[in-house]
């Protein structure tokens, strides 16, 4: 992958890089420690690997110019996830539907043993594709929940909602996810998990 400016139309941070106060090896370690999880989170939001890569790249670019204001090392991970999520939100307009989903009633779907088997049989790209079908307002907390990088408090901080809202959104997100897998199971045998897989979402 060639170095490139992100395609999302976001103004690159000005010069005066944080690298002046952070060594290149230290920055390399920071990237090494977090870029994988950030990419997985970005992929669940952006739905395609190119945009996900851009989001991750932009996040570290912002870190390089603004991250020095963060003195507490324990907050770095949370800061990176928060920045990535904000950049994602900046990249697209929120619709009225997003807020109306907050009042969506609980579904009737209950997890069954067959669903566990169904997910276990799927490949990673198909599981990701199912997750990406979940409405965004529920998908973001659900992705952070599964990635296990952040505590509930940190997830709430990233999404700027109370912890109780995170739990409520997790519940609704899982209901949607189960419905997606259940719908996929209604197709004939031989297509165990026919959710369209995301191009490039597979492990190389």
């Amino acid at each position: 992958m060639k170095p490139r400016r992100p395609r999302r139309g976001i103004t690159p941070p000005g010069r005066g890089s944080h690298l002046r106060t952070m060594s290149t090896p230290a920055f390399g370690q920071l990237v090494e420690d977090h870029y994988g999880s950030l990419f997985r989170f970005a992929l669940s939001l952006a739905r395609n690997p190119a945009d996900a890569g851009d989001l991750v790249q932009q996040t570290f670019l912002i870190w390089a110019t603004k991250g020095h204001s963060l003195n507490d090392g324990k907050r770095v991970k949370s800061w990176l996830f928060t920045t990535l999520y904000r950049e994602f939100l900046r990249g697209r307009r929120r619709t009225a539907r997003l807020t109306s989903l907050e009042t969506m009633p609980e579904g009737e779907n209950e997890p069954e043993a067959a669903e566990v088997d169904r997910v276990a049989r799927c490949d990673a790209a198909t599981a990701l594709a199912a997750l990406q079908e979940v409405d965004e307002v529920f998908r973001a907390p659900l992705s952070l929940f599964y990635l296990e990088d952040l505590s509930y408090q940190e997830i709430a901080a990233v999404l700027q909602v109370p912890v109780g809202t995170v739990m409520s959104r997790l519940s609704r997100g899982k209901t949607q996810l189960r419905a997606i897998f259940a719908a996929a199971a209604t197709v004939p045998a031989g297509a165990a998990c026919p959710i369209p897989a995301v191009p490039g979402g597979k492990e190389p």
Partner: protein, 77 residues
Amino acid sequence: MTNEEAKIILGAYRPGGEGSAEAVFGEAMRQAERDPQLGAWFAHSQGLDAAMRGKLRELAPPPGLKESILAQVRGLS
């Protein structure tokens, strides 16, 4: 606490999670131990979570992304 309320709480449970787990999940987990139906729901929910967690961990960033990040930031300094 109703079973529906317990499900919302238990749905957020992660094994080996936060230190405050007892305060947040304790009551709902004890209810799941007492109620076989809720207990079965919780077991299946945990199975589904573990399967999804495992699948998502398999996703790898595209080759060259790390190098691209480092090169771009190096260009700023």
